[in-house]
Amino acid sequence: MQWPLIKNLPNEFHFRFTKYAPVAAVISGLAIIATIAVLFLQGLNLGTDFAGGNVLEVETPTAANLDTLRAQMNQFGAEDTGVQTFGSPRDVIIKFKLDESHQTNDGVEAIKTKLSAAIPGIAFKRTEVVGPKVSAELLRSGFLALGAALVLMLIYIWIRFPSGLQFGSGAVIAVLHDVALTVGMMAFLQIEFTMTSIAALLTVIGYSMNEKVITFDRLRENLRKFRKTPLADIINLSENERLSRTIITGSTAVLALAGMLFLGGPALFPLVFAMVFGILIGTYSSIYVALPIILIWGVNRNDPDAEVVDLGGFKGGKKPKDMP
């Protein structure tokens, strides 16, 4: 082994990425079907942000008896009570709903008072109450945000890659694929879907789109360099060229977030989980969703418009200068 480790990576990779594209297409297709199935059969585990209702995070003086607690909550007038521990057996999350007349104002406080009487020494660490009106609005604005993000990204790609209908579509379909699979995974594992999950999905969109742009940058550069080479070969060449960067960046991001995944606590788990999953799936979809779409669609190699258009000044068109 040499150090720095980067020297161990071969100078050139010769993977034939496109060879596995049909397999990947089948896998992606099945995953999308599975996502739709999971969403229909199981549905998302909507958090209080979107479903409305109440959450109490409590610490009991001794290990909590969840069945007793659930029974007590129902006796106090709570409906749809869900009780679960996290971390230690003394840390309990209680989720419940109240009928409409009790939901607003002091209903939750009444429950807390009764709980305090039933379990002396109970400590309320977190209280969350979301009324039905607010939750409906949050859900709407959450989906609006996702839609707005996708549209803006599409516009950006359009500006960045003029007449790049293939590029734009490839990128957006790939990003949609990532968002869908991330949502599907959250539904499958029944990870709570909250406003923070929307933020995570937006981060996934941002990260995934960034992967696509970097992929396309390299592809476009090689398309100009090798005008006669078949498209599939250029795609393979471009991917091989940026493989080391893909590996290093992807693993740094995942490793850096890993600590948070385990230490962040229940409030952060959905966010970090979606981010990690999104980074992995975003890397995959650059190679096996975005590029194959371009490959199938084809690019007009003779169209001068397909030439690179720089966002002025970023590109080093200047001749290399020696140090002053």
Partner: protein
């Protein structure tokens, strides 16, 4: 690209120094911060409620309730005005946003209409428009309509008033800097950091403030007052109109704020600002009787145990309305009107949402956040050293440190809220910042392999990687901006860190790495790059 012009070096040095200046207070104990106040910035990171603990309450002013209250009051007023003029009528009925009344005597219809038109008051923001309109229908029926403009204006006023009422009530608690703001058309958000009891907050907001009218006890001499000798039927209250000097008032309540229906800034006969107020019929009777018995004496208007003013009764006030004069400025008058109005919330407030995080849980979250950030940072450090060696790895770590410093400093300087998701955003920003370095290094490796000399490889590498870095960060910036626009609370905190991270990471990856590698190159003059 690799030329190290003075402005580049200067810019980085200035940024790092400013970064240290703004970031350092976060690591100093409060006592040291107090000592250096005035010499340097002493602000610290603005922690979100999820990190420092606290309560977030979202309330909505019940507009329907507001309209119902207003229409009920209008019905009473219609009866009262018509009775006053001796106009016979039948069937006063309130429906939705209007009150209908049938005038028995057709010949007095015009007079009745003119009388009822006077019930309306001009809108504060648009004095040409009245909040009530009177419409003449067939069958000698008059319809008093609470106009759409009136409803809108009243709702807006109700939100403002509620915020004012709530602020006053919360301030009395002594809770640490609560932020109370309007959200949308008819919502109020309260964010009270620290160990405030949300239950107490909610009780306080849901409760009507106590406003009372009591007689001043003139029998107590100043020396008795100083010695604390007060008769059993009286109490000592601070008189805020005289800078809080104590004044003895009788405990017996003449009228309370529950009987108050109206308070406005008006003018007295000399056109000076004054306060007009009105009681309902019960209040009017009580107040009339009390004033009749106590002409020449003083009574006190008491709000939450403080005397707002203690005017002398010049004559019996039997109309149920009165005017408080006393050489106020317009501001003072509206202030007192506000206080009078704060006696009752203008409409029911519905609690729509609540988030309370205990300080202990917040402290745990801060701990988890700090540990995760350190772990994330160390992971990146180890990874970069292993992957790129001391020189190039070290440069990227230095750039990362500058990046972290600038993020903390910018968040502190802008007082952007740092939330727990924001810490996740911070870690992601660090990873994305490293990506910029990786992109540069991989480009440099490519260029060197394709036959460039080291300096040329570095030059071209930086230049080419810049395009990708910009693209990458613009997509992240778009995502963060959308989160900022659509998100609230913790999510907005996440967006803040991502946005700040985009700028600082581009700055440090491009400029800091470039300068450090430039210096290294000048010193080492390598024949071959160690990556």
């Amino acid at each position: 690209m690799m030329n190290l012009s003075r402005w580049k070096v200067g810019l980085v040095i200035v940024a790092v120094l400013l970064g240290i200046l703004f970031a350092v207070p976060n690591f100093l104990p409060a006592s040291v911060r107090d000592q250096v106040k005035g010499f340097m910035p002493t602000q610290t990171l603005n922690l979100g409620l999820d990190l420092q603990g606290g309560s977030y309450l979202l309330m909505e002013v019940d507009t329907n309730d507001l309209i119902k209250t207003k229409i009920a009051a209008v019905s009473d007023d219609v009866r009262a005005r018509l009775d006053e003029k001796g106009i016979a009528y039948t069937g006063v009925a309130a429906t939705g946003t209007s009150v209908s009344v049938r005038i028995t005597d057709a010949s007095r219809l015009q007079e009745a209409q003119a009388t009822l038109v006077k019930l309306g008051t001009p809108l504060p923001k648009n004095p040409g428009v009245m909040d009530l309109a009177v419409q003449q229908n067939s069958d000698q029926t008059l319809l008093v309509i609470f106009t759409q403009e009136g409803i809108r204006s009243t709702s807006a006023g109700a939100v403002e008033t509620s915020i004012e009422v709530i602020r006053k009530r919360i301030d009395a608690l002594g809770t640490k800097e609560p932020s109370i703001s309007r959200q949308g058309v008819n919502r109020i958000v309260i964010e009270a950091p620290g160990e405030s009891d949300p239950e107490q907050l909610k009780r306080l907001i849901g409760r009507t403030a106590k406003l009372t009218f009591q007689m001043v006890d003139e029998t107590v001499s100043p020396s008795d007052l100083a010695a604390g000798r007060v008769p059993p039927g009286s109490e000592v209250l601070p008189d805020d109109s005289r800078g809080g000097t104590p004044l003895v008032v009788r405990k017996a309540i003449l009228v309370s704020g529950n009987n108050l229906t109206k308070a406005n800034v008006g003018v007295d006969e000399y056109q000076r600002p004054a306060i007009d107020f009105a009681f309902n019929s019960e209040g009017a009777k009580k107040f009339g009787d009390a004033t009749l018995r106590n002409v020449g004496k003083r009574f006190a208007i008491v709000l939450d145990g403080h005397i707002v003013s203690a005017p002398v009764i010049h004559g019996a006030i039997t109309t149920g309305s009165g005017q408080i004069t006393g050489g106020f400025t317009h501001e003072e008058a509206s202030e007192i009107v506000n206080i009078l109005k704060s006696g009752a919330l203008p409409a029911k407030l519905n609690f729509e949402s609540q988030r309370t995080v205990g300080a202990e849980l917040g402290a745990d979250a801060v701990h988890a956040g700090v540990v995760s950030t350190i772990i994330g940072f160390l992971t990146i450090v180890v990874f970069m050293f292993l992957a790129y060696g001391f020189i190039f790895g070290g440069v990227s770590i230095a750039a990362l440190l500058v990046n972290l410093l600038l993020i903390v400093a910018s968040m502190t300087a802008f007082q952007a809220t740092l939330t727990l998701p924001g810490i996740a955003g911070l870690i992601l920003s660090l990873a994305v910042a490293v990506d910029a370095n990786v992109l540069i290094y991989e480009r440099i490796r490519d260029e060197e392999r394709s036959g460039h000399r080291p300096i040329a490889a570095m030059d071209v590498g930086f230049a080419r990687a810049l395009v990708s870095i910009m693209d990458a960060n613009i997509t992240n910036l778009i995502a963060a901006l959308i989160m900022f626009v659509f998100g609230a609370g913790p999510v907005r905190g996440f967006a803040w860190t991502l946005m700040i991270g985009v700028f600082t990471s581009v700055f440090s990856a491009i400029l800091v790495s470039q300068i450090l590698l430039g210096w290294w190159y000048k010193a080492a003059k390598p024949k071959k790059l160690p990556i």
